[in-house]
Amino acid sequence: MASALDPHAAVVAGASGASPRLTTADGQPLARALARASARARRRAFLLVAPLLLFVVVTFVIPIGQMLHRSIYNDGFAANMPQISAWFAENPSGTQPDEAAFAALAADLKTAADIRTIGIVGTRMNYDVPGTRSLFTSTGRKARAGFEPPFREALIEADEDWGDPTLWRAMRSASTAYTANFYLAAVDRTRDDQNSIVQVPERQQVYVMLFQRTFWLSLVITGLTFLLGFPIAHLLATLPMRKSNLLMILVLLPFWTSLLVRTTAWMVLLQQQGVVNDILVWLGVVGQDGRLKLIYNQVGTIIAMTHILLPFMILPLYSVMRTINPSYVRAARSLGASSWTAFRRVYFPQTLPGLGAGALLVFILAVGYYITPALVGGSSGQLISNMIAMHMTETLNWSMAAALAAILLASVLVLYWIYDRLVGIDNLKLG
């Protein structure tokens, strides 16, 4: 009989013969001891990750969450115009603005003008009804002198736009800080007089077109990186290791070179007086005055981005192609397949995992590209990121920027999720 002190009897069978319970040397049930040990191991592993997870959540996840909150929350009107906001809350939608409403509006305008928040209110309303910023600031100036009742007549006399039902509807929707209007605007929609959702006038439709262009250009760039990357990856995978390591440097050098340097290089090369056009003229392909416009348009964006993203296609393709056994193709050939058939039916299907990984990665990165289109894109090569940057730095319509960012982020996250399902993030390789 094994004693508890016997080191060889770390696990002893329980005394009852019917259901033997396994116990550890110190007499505990094995299952519980194992559970405790593995819980400890899990805790240890998690503790190693915890500092970084906390860091990323604080410096990355929370800021983005906060930013997205801005896309549905804008209190520029509600916080600075409390009395009229309260009137909107008390009276159901569709109520004609009465004298009380105008009185509340006049009081709010006076307060806002006095404490100089009228500009914020006007800017907020300007997002929904273009041209109203000046209406608010000019009436605010008059309001500081004070309006006499009846307020309705006084305000309409100050500016007849105050009687406009469109403005009142917009003010009602802005009187609650939470709004979906920025998302509507981000898909080129707005609310009409009956409060139903309609398309904005054709000349104001920009965002849907920009999203379409972003996805279309990303697809083109992904296709081009595939066409250029596949032969290179194949060559590198079939050469002997020593030679392919040398050639690999030609792929990795652009990968390690600064993005701005590569973009600058393309700006220099593709200019109308640049090297590419000079060579084309010298070769007689184009005439001296027929120099091609290769930059500050979509062509520039496509060329530069294809060059920059090409390594992201080559590297995953290469690592999959390395593992393909060459004897499959030889077997196909010996069974009578032509080299094209052997490639198409035997070799190519085996490269699909690498192709999927590369294409998804290139597409994900291309959809969110900002720097290169901003520098070489001109106006026809701008992507949705550039529109977000414009709203952030020029028009200062931050809620609009946030709504566009939310849509872009959602599409990137869907692609990222597909990538994780198909490829696995663990298989992401860098050189």
């Binding site: 592993a45 998690f46 990750v49 970084l52 800021p63 070179t257 290089a265 090297v275 960012a405 663990d426």
Partner: protein
């Protein structure tokens, strides 16, 4: 890539055409980077090879753009080049200031990203790690999320995350915060942002190294009486060091090349090289930009060589020597 002896004439033609295509694609990859180097020595303010450059006339080449780089922003660039001239350059030249900022921000963000990233990679590559998939996805996401979204989020967060500079806590933190007690427009803010962007690269390279790591070595060390800390520093660390260093280099390059976050959250005091380049390109592009580009290309060649050497060393250490 040898052609089999039974290849038909058509296959021979295709084989050589294929080689030609590959050479053309390699040319496409490398030429834009290489062409910048001679153009930066242009004596004229043009972005193409002048007549004199094509005939290799020494007069066609000059170092004037490198000189511009050095003197741009100096208080007294035309003074004789004595000690005080160099002191002026060191203190006032715009590009030297940008280089100093880039290096400071790069080093600190790299240290932060590497230490935290390596610890996390060690945890993530343990089989017991709970919620591994989702945590990994979160930690890699700064690489995937479009930079403009990240920068926008950080801009709002850093301008709103402020402390009261008159409180005890605020006084303690005041040296690293801006005058208003916020993270925006501070070195610390840029360092934190760049560390976040560099973390995915550290995680990817270190976990890749740990896949080839034999966990029984750790158990062997433990069974020989080493405590976890000794095991880590004496056994694990030397073996994964090549991966850690290349992860650190990736993080450094990420920071060194980062424009958008720097544009949004850095103040005028944190002008970095990419930001200075961005301004130069947007305002009035001059061949001086090509001189910077040349220096950066040389820098990336040096980095690439280091990473390649490390990779080979790592493979040799783990017994994966290439044929």
């Amino acid at each position: 890539m040898a052609l089999p002896t039974y290849a038909s004439p058509l296959e021979r033609i295709w084989h050589w055409a294929y080689i030609a295509i590959c050479v053309a694609i390699f040319f496409f990859l490398i030429a834009p980077i290489v062409v910048v180097i001679p153009l930066s020595f242009n004596a004229e303010p043009y972005f193409t090879f002048t007549e004199k450059m094509r005939s290799f006339d020494p007069e066609g080449y000059s170092l004037r753009w490198y000189d511009t780089l050095l003197t741009f922003g100096m208080a007294n660039p035309d003074a004789p080049r004595t000690g005080s001239w160099w002191a002026d350059a060191w203190n006032n030249a715009r590009w030297i200031g940008a280089a100093k900022n880039s290096i400071i921000i790069g080093i600190f963000s790299t240290i932060l990203a590497t230490v935290l990233g390596t610890l996390a990679a060690l945890g993530l590559s343990r089989p017991e790690m709970p919620f591994r998939r989702i945590i990994m996805a979160i930690l890699i996401s700064p690489m995937i999320v479009p930079i403009i979204i990240t920068a926008t989020g950080m801009f709002f967060f850093y301008s709103s995350a402020c402390v009261d500079t008159t409180s005890t806590f605020g006084r303690l933190l005041a040296p690293v915060l801006s005058n208003s007690g916020c993270l925006a427009n501070t070195y610390l803010g840029v360092i934190l942002a760049h560390a976040t962007l560099g973390i995915p690269f550290v995680i990817i390279t270190v976990t890749a190294t740990l896949i080839g790591f034999d966990q029984s070595l750790n158990r062997a060390a433990a069974s020989l009486g080493a405590n976890p800390r000794t095991t880590f520093f004496k056994v694990t660390m030397p073996l994964i060091l090549p991966g850690v260093i290349s992860g650190a280099l990736f993080a450094f390059v990420t920071s060194f090349d980062e424009v958008v976050a720097a544009l949004f959250i850095a103040g005028p005091d944190q002008q970095t090289i990419p930001r200075q380049m961005w301004n130069g390109i947007r305002e009035q592009i001059s061949p001086a930009i090509l001189a910077v580009a040349t220096l950066l290309v040389i820098f990336s060649i040096a980095l690439l060589a280091t990473v390649e050497l490390l990779r080979r060393r790592g493979e040799r250490l783990r017994g994966l020597t290439p044929a």
